[in-house]
């Protein structure tokens, strides 16, 4: 299984990673080798096998829809790169 440089750039875009041309060539090789490694799964007969997502096959526990946490707005904002008036600041999105 090998992928080309365009594939790598497409995957990087989906993953929101900015790659240089040089990075893309490097990842083309390393991604291809990982995909070759996982390719051996395709030869296994898994007809009738149900996928296992939780090893204990637990069902999701639900709780009452109640407020259980205290408001820590300032504490959380303290880790943000940029804030203003109690809000997270990002580059302009709407003209």
């Amino acid at each position: 299984m090998s992928i080309d440089k365009q594939d790598v750039q497409k995957i990087a875009h989906l993953a929101r990673l900015a790659l240089t041309e040089e990075d893309a060539v490097q990842y083309q090789h390393s991604l291809s080798s990982v995909l070759s490694l996982v390719e051996q799964m395709q030869s296994v007969d898994t007809d009738g096998v149900a996928p296992l997502s939780n090893p204990l096959e637990m069902t999701q526990r639900l709780r009452e829809d109640e407020v259980t946490e205290v408001n820590q707005r300032d504490a959380f904002l303290a880790n943000a790169p940029q804030t203003e008036a109690g809000l997270f600041l990002v580059p302009q999105v709407i003209e």
Binding site: L14, V34, V49, P51, P55, Q60, N79, V90
Partner: protein
Amino acid sequence: MFEQSIATLAQQLRNKEISSVELTRLFLDRIQALDPQLNSFITISDELALQQAKAADTAIANGSSSSLTGIPIAHKDLFCTQDVLTTCGSKMLNNFIPPYESTVTSRIQQAGAVMLGKTNMDEFAMGSSNENSFYGAVKNPWNLNKVPGGSSGGSAAAVAAGLAVAATGTDTGGSIRQPASFCGITGLKPTYGRVSRFGMIAYASSLDQGGPMAKSAEDCAHLMQAMAGFDDKDSTSSETPKEDYLANLNAPLAGLKIGLPKEYFGDGLDAKVADTIMAAVKEFEKLGATVKEVSLPNLQLSIPSYYVIAPSEASSNLSRFDGVRFGHRCDDPKDLLDMYTRSRAEGFGTEVQKRIMVGTYALSEGYYDAYYLKAQKIRRLIKEDFVNALNEVDVIMGPVAPTTAFDLGSKTNDPVAMYLEDIYTLSVNLAGIPAMSVPAGFVDNMPVGLQIMGNYFAEAKLLNIAHQYQQNTDWHLQTPTMAKGA
């Protein structure tokens, strides 16, 4: 002093032979003297440690102490610790001060333990050698030219070198057991859901599990007493009541049925490591255990299954690092997309970016069934192998890793070779069962770990088995030469 067990130190603290402040200073001094050779800590929280030690001394004086009160330990830098830098080994989080405490560190703190600092690790726990840390590689205390294993390499090296009495680690594909094996300490990966994941920075949520790393099984049991058990804040936390991990440590092993999976002793296993493991198994026979061969026929498939499931979950979990609410943000973003893509490319290291992309690919339109769903079906086959084998025997034993610790830099250019190192540990996480690494000998002066795998929620049984072995051997009591230098 630095080689003493938790039980002995707790006794000395209670008898006022030493104070927690003195003990904490002793370990802080050892870190200062020896860690420049190892790089096992990212953050040393000396002021906080001395505050906690003072509080512990007060608690001991008031007669309200547990076995962990005043004991200096270290936490893997993946557990969020309130007001203490938590990096997860990444540049992405090199300024992240959590406003809350993980359940594991909170419970250990409640039990009175002192936190010396946060240990180095592979970035976001992705690695088997601790060479993927933004904060530099960790060295193995037994040989400074070798890796300590990963991803909990800092915790393993710190405990082996006597820079902390014990430490926490996390294990997604072997990250407690393999470094424990490489550094000659004892580590336990509990059953999935036994230890809360709340406040653990997520890598692969259906596989991640925190656990203890210490010199002995008995010390691990003391940590499990504090850290294990149901937590309302983790939606996959198990409601199965936790056991008393200390109560049955001395139960005799007569009649114990041990299974040796033939797939764990095939091609690729170093012959001297195999001999060491078989010698350990012989020791169990002397203690009254019986041994039979079992089979885990789908073992080889654990590598492809893991390297689809873990990256897929990682690609989803790590999407939160977008430069908006916390973590690294690039300079002068020209728009939102530019901010996301450059912040992530600058903040994540190569291995992390690679795994995010593998996961993104596996989950993308048109490939989901062929990769993620297929990997989950194979995951069931792997689980069924363990269920079948554990119907025949009480525990399964084998090596933790095919070799002892390898040279720094020897596998960094061949990631697939590095992935193959995980062959004996990945399947345990896919199945969700508990497993330990126990020091079982040395090959060419490097430690070898015996892996003991048990049934769901059989942690107390595993600790009992390991403790009995350690009552009859002294591999876990060996100290690297460099640790004696201070």
